[in-house]
């Protein structure tokens, strides 16, 4: 007999910082998927919970929300899933996660969700913190008063998770007591809506009024909130007792140091410094291993598979291109790890708190700091993270300047160029020279972002009043499981997304560099098969001559020389021109392209581009081509130019118009050109 499988749809919702994601992770483990909500770039995290053979649930983790009346973009999306019955993600059961140590405010949102009439389970987290605060919560009384199933969980040790699973699959809707009388807040308006939506309950009608005639609820919403809080106070008086305890001052004392007038900033800078230094020193070894295994794999492949264009394409096109990028995975992972830890501990919101006044001076918001800092990992998720900024102008400015922050895709480019111009030495024993230059590049990115924001503050017109109202959560030890899951996800996306582009670009580039217009290639072969060459040069030398001449005559060579006049004032030759153009798709392609181009002119299939580029001489002067000035000019170009299709696409999706994406592309490209020009012309 076939077992009928039922798939239950479950939504997890709750205030920010309430431990929602930990509950989600505990229920689904690594059985997760990250997608997007239709038409947006908002991360949609879903996972599958297998209960038994015939019962499983599809669980969706919604963005954190303080209230059913959304104030920011990500709250809007969460609320739409909760209240819109036509939403694709509409669920059968809603788990409202509440922080037990901060129950009153968390229950406000619970009471709103519960009033929608859908089956709800109340999940309490952070019971241990509540305990330390001396709060004794009587779960049975709380459950009776609210008319809902209450489950206390601790995702750290798995306590309560099994019970939560049982509750999800065996829940029957309890009374879900209404805490306030919605109808009497606006009887006429609700009656009016009822005519249009006969199936709606009072609160659904009320939300419909909010959606369509918000101005009519002016004052009523505040009244509703006050009444809800009053009712919650009664519920808590009955179900929670406060014991006399010595309040832990740890979080408070940490705040005294971490947000101190001087130490606060010193510690912040120190943390940034540690992050950048460790990106270089810690990642060095795994990067070496990756590089070695790619070289080995390339050689193995080249020897063991039949020679020919396909072999050539795979070894010199795909493998060389991929290795140039995957090698930077350790650095990117460590960067994301640091950011995830700082967010998870609650430190990031203190950074927002300390920086708000400075950020406001340049037209941004304290909440812009987190997106700006994560901008050093990748602009795409950072631009999405600006959704938490409620004010339109502050959000747009933040979006516009994020790509100036040095993202990890520039890291491969910087690393390569810095390693060519600076020694891998320490000064005063601790400061790695290369690390210092790298930090300098990050500072250039940061200060130009700040300056650009300051200019835009005067150019962009404000639409509404701005504010900064932010919860400072208590400090917590980072949750390793959450961080690991984030890292796995980010690395997967990086390899997959970057890999796709890089393989495609590598193949196109290989084609463009391996073929030339007309009979030019045949002519070169003819030339070198003449007696003059075969007599005076070894066959190896001839192959090398041929290869570099072929590159020059190829489609890519033609194109490179076509744009050379435009980039010559910056100190770039046609080879760099090819790399610049191909990195329009994504910056990290630069390294892969250089690898492909130089591999084409090289007999050995060594993947080590650094040495190849350092050997490169100017054909006329015979001096090294990559001088300090050229390398610096090139680094500056990469520091400013918006060479990232994903960013452009994200800005379009987030702002819903091409206007901002276009402006951003133009202003960053002009900046890049001018800065490189000035530096090269001054110091050449």
């Amino acid at each position: 007999m076939e077992v009928q499988e039922t798939i239950l749809r479950v939504a997890i919702t709750g205030n920010p910082n309430c431990g929602k994601t930990s509950v989600f992770n505990a229920l689904t483990g690594l059985n997760q998927q990250v997608g997007n909500y239709a038409g947006t770039t908002v991360d949609k995290k879903t996972g599958v919970l297998v209960y038994n053979k015939s019962q499983r649930a599809k669980i969706i983790d919604l963005p954190g929300t303080y209230s059913i009346y959304p104030k920011s973009k990500d709250e809007e999306i969460a609320i739409d899933v909760i209240i819109n019955p036509l939403s694709k993600e509409a669920s059968d059961i809603i788990l409202v996660v509440c922080d037990a140590s901060n129950l009153k405010r968390n229950l406000l949102y619970y009471s709103q969700v519960s009033d929608l009439g859908k089956p709800v389970v109340l999940v309490l987290t952070m019971m241990d913190i509540a305990e330390k605060k001396g709060l004794d919560i009587n779960l049975i009384v709380l459950s009776l008063l609210l008319g809902v199933k209450v489950v206390a969980v601790n995702p750290r040790n798995g306590k309560g998770i099994e019970k939560l699973k049982d509750t999800i699959f065996n829940t029957s809707r309890l009374t879900q007591n209404k805490l306030i009388d919605i109808y009497n807040l606006a009887p006429e308006l609700i009656e009016e809506q009822r005519k249009r939506h006969p199936n709606f309950n009072d609160f659904q009608c009320f939300l419909e009024i909010y959606k369509t005639q918000r101005e009519k609820l002016d004052g009523i919403l505040a009244d509703e909130t006050i009444k809800r809080y009053a009712a919650i106070k009664v519920v808590l008086n009955e179900s929670v007792t406060q014991r006399e305890v010595k309040q832990s001052e740890l979080s408070n004392n940490l705040d005294k140091i971490l947000t101190h007038k001087i130490w606060g900033y010193v510690i912040f800078l120190f943390i940034l410094f540690v992050i950048f230094e460790s990106i270089f020193s810690v990642s060095k070894f795994p990067m070496l291993w990756i590089q070695q295994s790619f070289t080995w794999f390339g050689n193995y492949f080249a020897q063991h598979f039949p020679e020919g264009p396909l072999n050539d394409l795979l070894v010199h096109g795909v493998i060389a291109g991929l290795s140039g990028v995957i090698v930077f995975l350790p650095q990117i992972v460590s960067l994301f790890a640091f950011i995830a830890i700082l967010e998870d501990t609650g430190y990031m919101s203190r950074v927002s708190f300390m920086m708000d006044k400075l950020m406001r001076r340049v037209g941004m918001n304290g909440k812009s700091v987190v997106p700006l800092i994560s901008g050093v990992a990748c602009a795409v998720p950072s631009i999405m993270a600006t959704r938490s900024i409620e004010n339109w102008k502050e959000r747009i400015i933040t979006i516009m300047v994020i790509p100036l922050m040095s993202c990890s895709a520039r890291l491969p480019v910087y690393t390569l160029l810095i390693s060519m111009i600076a020694p891998d030495k320490n000064i005063w024993g601790i400061f790695n020279v290369q690390g210092l230059i790298l930090m300098g590049m990050y500072l250039i990115g940061f200060f130009s972002a700040i300056t650009a924001a300051w200019v835009m503050k005067f150019v962009i017109q404000a639409k509404e009043k701005n504010y900064f109202i932010l919860e400072l959560p208590t400090y917590k030890a980072p949750r390793l499981k959450n961080i690991l899951i984030t890292l796995v996800e980010k690395s997967r996306t990086f390899i997959w997304e970057a890999g796709k582009v890089i393989v495609a670009v590598s193949v196109i580039l290989w084609l463009a560099a391996s073929f030339g217009p007309g009979k030019s290639f045949a002519k070169i072969e003819e030339k070198y098969s003449s007696e003059f060459y075969t007599k005076n040069f070894s066959s190896k030398e001839i192959v090398n001559f041929q290869k570099s001449e072929k590159l020059f005559a190829s489609y890519a060579g033609h194109f490179g020389r076509l744009i050379e006049p435009a980039i010559k004032p910056l100190g770039f030759d046609w080879k760099i021109g090819i790399a610049l153009f191909s990195s329009l798709a994504a910056r990290e392609v630069f390294v892969g392209t250089m690898a492909t181009i130089y591999n084409l002119g090289d007999e050995s299939s060594s993947v080590n581009i650094r040495e190849r580029m350092m050997e490169e001489r100017d054909p006329v002067t015979l001096k090294p081509k990559y001088t300090l000035t050229v390398a610096f000019s090139l680094m500056l170009f990469y520091a400013f130019a918006l060479q990232c299709m994903s960013t452009i696409a994200t800005v379009y999706k987030e702002t819903k118009t091409w206007k901002w994406a276009t402006i951003q592309f133009i202003y960053t490209s002009s900046l890049a050109y001018i800065m490189s020009l000035v530096v090269y012309q001054l110091f050449k």
Partner: protein, 84 residues
């Protein structure tokens, strides 16, 4: 009339009213309800924003928002910390 701007670090107060209608709902949802006891717990290094203890958690806001929260100062009795 006193607002949250007038509160000094460590002082307690009771919220009376929120005067700015555009911020009223947001502030109330975050727990700034008339009658609630608050304490000014931190001031950012540059003097703005500030952080208050409210309903057992910490909320930060700018001085401009604090100016719309009308309060009455109370003298703290040592053992009566703000309730949950």
């Amino acid at each position: 009339m006193q607002t949250l701007r007038d509160l000094k670090k460590g002082e307690y107060a009771i919220i009376q009213e929120i005067s700015d209608n555009s911020l009223k709902l947001k502030l109330m949802e975050m727990g700034c309800i008339p009658g609630e006891v608050i304490r000014l717990s931190h001031i950012a290094p540059l003097g703005d924003p500030i952080a208050i203890d409210i309903q057992g958690y910490k909320l930060s806001l700018r001085l401009s928002e604090a100016g719309s929260i009308i309060i009455q100062k109370i003298v703290p009795e040592i053992n009566k910390a703000p309730t949950r």
